[in-house]
Symmetry: C2
Subunit: 267 residues, 2 copies
């Protein structure tokens, strides 16, 4: 029997494949009517598999910095992102990046003057806010700084274990560690408390957003702070962050490591 | 029954998870002995699922530019990469990137002086060499320029359909298109023949490696050529390529789009 199917999908690509040549900006829910076709091609299992693959494409596009700025996870990828974040895949991805970073760190020769530096972002790089995002749809909800700040004040974020192991190795190798976070100066005490409680130690400097940094993009703010680190004589050999805005801009350092994060985007 | 399992794996991450705290550089085959454990945890299906997830992590790490230079796909990811390249996932990933690029291209205002430019790489960006790589292990074999050149001379590479559609839209919007390829001047005629045969047309310039460009990295060669484009008065608004060496360096343009490619790496 020939029939058509309605499917709520967030992907312009499906629109272009089945309906029109006019792609749309993501994320944007679409109601699509599949053209009449063979039931075996369009039955619901294939629909589900396609959604999974489209969501994987969306996640890939984010990791490769191909996406335009976005505010929430596409509606139809909520379950996909939750599964990713709570299953093995996220942990394996984190471990892979940490291992690459550690291999690189061991491969470089330090000058021995204590001026070789590694920059780490904090949230979703050293500390995991997964308990918070579990209560807020894993990125399906629009970010609320008010709600998030309440979570930060609890100083209860667990360490990302692969990052903690990397951090220890970076320290052992003799790097000076700079923590460069989008958190504000007002959150300094709780941030230090949280970091120490879960095992991070001996950083050279924890840099937070001051009053003059509010309203600036993370790319601008972090570039300027990295430039100050360099101006103080340090050589940034490595930089780890879960956002491209942690890694791009000026004073980028010799090599960057992008940790996975499909839950939110910071420009 | 308690038992241990031998598994040939290419991942340092598995080594770190189960055996040692000393991560290793990828790609590097390891023989791992799983610790004694519950059969339900370590039976062969879980092993297979873990390999799939580790290979996905490896692919992700490549797309996010986290990997050190590599010469071949990790031995245990051969089947994974083949499945990815020949199934829907690769096509969906390509479509997602093309749609994002098209949405961006439509969003920018062209100056109307015919100096707004878009740069495209050729191999695995406009043309697909999948028929060649299907005969050469989808990246498992070490790249042979001698063998590959014979394939190029046939001028038989099909178009990547989503890229052809994007290309047409970019043209329609009024961009000047520059093709910037790692192919050599000696391959100019067959490359033009191949491109035209599958539907690409009206490029402003096809730039190939000259005798002075041999032995230089793609990043250096392509940066210099982009700088020449800019020196000639063009504004590079978009840049599409499947390698990070197509996109990074100088004169990077306003926005870049990284197409997926887990089969090979060009520095």
């Amino acid at each position: 029997m020939k029939s058509s199917y309605l499917l709520l999908l967030a992907f312009s690509t499906i629109a272009t494949a089945y309906q029109t040549l006019d792609p749309l900006v993501l994320p944007r829910p679409l109601i699509l009517e599949y053209p009449p076709g063979d039931d075996q091609i369009f039955h619901s299992d294939v629909g589900k598999e396609e959604v999974q693959l489209r969501c994987a494409s969306w996640r890939f596009a984010g990791e490769a910095n191909n996406l335009a700025p976005w505010k929430t996870v596409p509606a139809d990828c909520g379950a996909y992102v939750k599964d990713y974040m709570t299953g093995k895949a996220y942990r394996f991805d984190l471990e892979m990046v940490a291992d690459e970073a550690a291999a690189y760190a061991r491969s470089v020769s330090l000058a021995g003057d204590c001026m070789d530096a590694w920059v780490f972002d904090v949230d979703e790089t050293l500390l995991s806010n997964l308990p918070y995002y579990a209560d807020h749809g894993y990125g399906l909800e629009v970010f609320s700084s008010h709600e998030f700040d309440k979570w930060v004040d609890k100083a209860m974020a667990p360490a990302i274990q692969s990052s903690l192991k990397l951090y220890e190795e970076i320290l052992r190798l003799g790097f000076k560690i700079f923590l460069l976070t989008g958190r504000t100066e007002g959150q300094k005490i709780v941030t230090m408390e949280n970091l120490k409680k879960v095992g991070f130690r001996d950083w050279k400097q924890l840099i937070l957003r001051g009053v003059n940094d509010h309203g600036r993009t993370a790319t601008m703010y972090k570039s300027e702070k990295r430039s100050e680190i360099v101006a103080n004589g340090y050589r940034i050999l490595g930089n780890s962050g879960d956002q491209w805005s942690d890694l791009l801009g000026s004073s980028m350092g010799n090599r960057s490591f992008k940790l996975p994060n499909p839950m939110y985007y910071i420009p």
